[in-house]
Symmetry: C2
Subunit: 322 residues, 2 copies
């Protein structure tokens, strides 16, 4: 039975959607904080067709690494689930083209960007029967399929935009946090391989209580700083004493990159998600530009290729293209 | 040499000061959060005398448990340190009367209230040469003398008033947090003995990372809730999965008291500081009254004596009496 929120006259023939990369953890908030950026991101074109089922017709930009099997690919699997839940799976089918404008395994929420683009696209195609809050559980399930764990610290900011707090998973409780005026992220993705699963496995199951206290003091300081638009407080709060000491070992030149960032005016510097991308938080676009250029120059000298991105916090989340 | 901030003509002959009890931890923020209440609290009368040195002439309300030795008592020791640092120790002496209007070892920051009353009083007696920020390190040293560790989660709110975050100790970084309109605390002190040192020793040195993540998600939610004046978010964030499960064992009837509080409209309920006092956070004075009365009634049935206190958050901190 077709869900009453669907109005057949609102269903589109085709939509094209961009969804953004995200910086999970925000340095001090492991597994709870994240923010969206303007670029990079992924693009999904979704077309309504007569033949039932959801198919991926092409994936570009993934170097052949992502599955075309619609049950295995997070974009198609999530779209299918939405279709089924709204009672539309027997009405028509969907064809998907995915263009990845961002590296896979970079620590920038690559799978999340695809998932969110797909979920946002199917909803847009159907005339937006679901709210973003209703779309989020589909995105979390997509993350589970793509990464083996249903975290929300990338999909929440990718879908909602801005800076998000995942306060709790059961029940799911997402809090939108204020975005300070003029906050920029300078991101560098060094071309070294640090798979998410390995990066997670390095982290110990138990941590020193005294470190945990430092960490939640910093988390509290960061949240207060965001509300106060207090960049000094934000900067001194964005320090990670628990995850960074372990994960930074996997990232060549981490200490050198951090020194470059801090000596060029970064408020804070750390790992984006599970790395190897790193992020400098700055109070201006210019500082973020300088920092990413200086880090790239340094990595070039070490013969490490890299991509750089400079972006304000993306407060919109996914958007329709065209 | 007398510090240039001291103006001899502003020095008073006598001051009388009240400093408030405090609820450290605020349930989810172990060692970093705390708030001040209107009552109970401690009272210090400080008198300038010719005879050099700082002496305690009387302590009331302590059942003879506190040291009169001026080097051992936090009130006199802190006052002496302020006098010395301002170059006044050779100019005149101080006599102190301390009246404790609150139980010792209750988890309500008893030593902090005395320390803060003393430090605030000596500063007031000297014509307020020091700011509250400058007074705080003296209070932390006083805590070290009284409790064996220099924590700030009681002295910071007792001195600053309101809700405070101790983001960091080195360097000391105290953040004043907003106080939501109409937030009340219903406090019950059951007369059972849980010394602070024992309560701390029960806590394990290492905690599960997954619990730490839940805790800093809750800390983040609480801070956001305070800024948003969002009592629902405050309530669901004020949960402690790390300390309460251990310390609650030391507090008879804890589970029963929690059930009474939550079933009578408490947003949250937990241990104040290291206990045995417990605190219900409510959105009205009436709810806090009802909860404390119902808990007291229950404890009476169990033949456990108790004191109850209902208070708004005290945003002022210490104050001059008379």
């Amino acid at each position: 039975m077709i869900d009453q929120r669907v109005h057949m006259e609102n269903i589109q023939e085709q939509v094209r959607v961009f969804a953004p990369a995200t910086v999970a953890n925000m340095i001090c908030g492991f597994d709870i904080l994240g923010f969206a950026v303007d670029a990079p991101g992924d693009e999904v074109t979704m077309t309504k067709v007569e033949q039932l089922g959801v198919r991926i017709t092409s994936i570009k930009g993934d170097d052949g690494r992502l599955p075309l099997d619609p049950d295995q690919n997070t974009v198609s699997a999530c779209a299918m689930k939405v279709l089924e839940d709204l009672g539309l799976a027997d009405e028509f089918g969907i064809e998907i083209e995915l263009v990845k404008h961002m590296p896979i395994g970079s620590g920038l929420g690559s799978s999340s960007a695809s998932t969110v683009a797909g979920v946002f696209a199917i909803n847009a195609l159907l005339g937006n029967p679901l709210t973003k809050e209703e779309l989020l559980p589909y995105c979390i399930e997509g993350e589970r399929l793509a990464c083996g764990h249903g975290h929300a610290d990338n999909v929440a900011p990718a879908l909602m935009g801005g800076i998000t707090l995942v306060r709790s998973y059961e029940p799911l409780d997402i809090v939108a946090l204020p975005v300070p005026d003029g906050m920029y992220a300078g991101i560098v993705f060094p071309h070294v391989d640090v798979p998410t699963r390995d990066a997670r496995q390095l982290i110990k199951d138990r941590v020193a209580l005294k470190d945990a206290v430092v960490q939640w003091g910093n988390v509290a300081g960061l949240i207060a700083g965001l509300y106060r638009n207090d960049f000094a407080l934000i900067g001194r709060s964005m320090q990670d004493v628990i995850i960074e000491p372990v994960r930074a070992i996997l990232i060549p030149q981490f200490a050198e990159m951090k020194e470059i960032a801090l000596s060029h005016g970064a408020l804070s510097f750390g790992i984006s998600g599970s790395g190897p991308s790193v992020v400098a938080i700055t109070q201006s676009e210019e500082a973020a530009q300088t920092i990413t250029q200086e880090i790239k120059k340094h990595l070039d000298q070490q013969e490490i290729d890299s991509n750089t991105y400079v972006s304000a916090v993306n407060t919109q989340g996914p958007r329709l293209l065209d």
